[in-house]
């Protein structure tokens, strides 16, 4: 790992000021993705801005019909928090399957969403639940946030502060884990929420996406049979040593069926 300067600001404003003054500085939250990348010398930030001292980024609260989760909330907290388990139990269950205990004890929801790994779990949930991503300067709908592989709408000096999830009537998630990396080969998050039905797919393509045909089918009739009838096209899906695009396309339908069953 190349060396860098370390900052630990106490407010979002101070963190953004450091990032704005130095284009090569990067935020670090749980470090579970960033530190392995830095060990491989995949990038060379001049400075790391540790977000763990910023109280504004913590906490889980209800706001009207939405559950608002701070960017620094750890996967372990989402998995075990009584408000999350009551309002969106599928989100808590999903968080409990991210990586392993030690990853969940450090990794954060904000870090995962900002990183936008194609196989990460949270992006599918954010899309299906029609989440709003709240930054230090604006609110971005999930549809406008995930732009491509490891790419989001965030500016280099913009911090994700919280994520607001409209509380759904029901939601479910299923993924098939790669037996070695344990990341999703394909995952599907389904939700029936205040803004309609959402189906988010992760792992299968270069970026998480909404499956519009499955959304239409579930809107017409919420059942396992509805999604079973929808075939995902393999065009533009990932194809690698772990599985072909056709295999992943088939998995999307299988995982969607399991996710609907999970939602009940």
């Amino acid at each position: 790992m190349y060396d860098f300067t370390y900052h630990k600001p106490a407010s979002v404003a101070d963190a953004v000021a450091i990032l704005a003054a130095d284009p090569d500085a990067k935020p670090i939250s749980g470090g579970m993705t960033l530190l392995p990348a830095l060990k491989h010398r995949l990038n060379r930030p001049s400075a790391l801005v540790d977000l763990s001292g910023i109280a504004e980024l913590r906490g889980i609260r209800q706001d009207g019909g939405a559950l608002v989760i701070g960017a620094m909330v750890k996967h372990y907290e989402v998995a075990t928090d009584s408000q999350v388990m009551a309002a969106i139990p599928a989100l808590a269950r999903m968080a409990s399957t991210i990586g392993d205990t030690q990853v969940r004890n450090r990794g954060t929801i904000g870090g995962s969403l900002a990183n936008n790994d194609p196989a990460a779990d949270y992006p599918a949930a954010a899309l299906a639940l029609r989440a709003t991503l709240i930054t230090d300067r604006r609110r971005i709908s999930a549809d406008d946030f995930f732009l491509g592989m490891f790419t989001t709408a965030l500016e280099p000096d913009e911090l994700l502060v919280a994520v607001s999830f409209p509380v759904p009537q029901k939601a479910g998630y299923a993924k098939l884990r790669n037996p070695a990396s344990r990341y999703a080969m394909a995952g599907v998050f389904v939700a029936q929420g205040p803004q309609g039905v959402g189906v988010g797919v992760n792992g299968a393509g270069p970026c998480a996406f909404r499956q519009a045909e499955m959304e239409a089918a579930l809107s017409a009739a919420w059942s396992v049979e509805s999604v079973a009838a929808v075939k995902q096209s393999p065009d533009e899906l990932n194809s690698d040593i772990h599985g072909s695009a056709e295999y992943r396309a088939n998995l999307v339908t299988v995982m969607a069926k399991r996710a609907v069953a999970d939602a009940g």
Binding site: M1, Y2, D3, F4, T5, Y6, I28, G31, M32, L35, P36, L38, K39, L48, D50, S52, Y76, G99, D100, T101, Q102, V103, N105, R106, R182
Partner: protein, 167 residues
Amino acid sequence: MPQVTLAVNGTSHTVEVEARTLLVEVLREKLRLTGTHVGCDTSQCGACVVHLDGDSVKACTILAIQAEGTQITTIEGLAAADGTLHPMQEAFREYHALQCGFCTPGMVMSAIDLVQKHPQGLSEQEIREGLEGNICRCTGYHNIVKAIAAAADVMQGRAGQLASAAE
């Protein structure tokens, strides 16, 4: 150079580090607590697991400077002053839950966190899932799972002493 102050196994240490110095490097190279191992250095194997303010974490994936002001417990901090082993260490011995021993410090630290987070006890399935972040290339895991179940009974007062592995 930046300085960090850590309470390791109950003793406060202030050490000079680079910003990029990992917690596991401070433990092993500065404090000479070499019970915490480095297996993969890629956040996967769990040989480096320690407790940070009571939670199990991978010490190869935390900067020492991020741990400023925290309480760290390593495998060296588990046994009593008179050498009496922690019930989890005793159970690993009784149940033959190690062969080469490389993964053992991390396994024991993860197992203790797992038991502490499940005060009502653990199913075999929960123990196996709880070990997702710890890789053992020798034992095949079965005896590790048995050791953790037996230690949980002692730690949580369901058994006065360790059940013999022979039973």
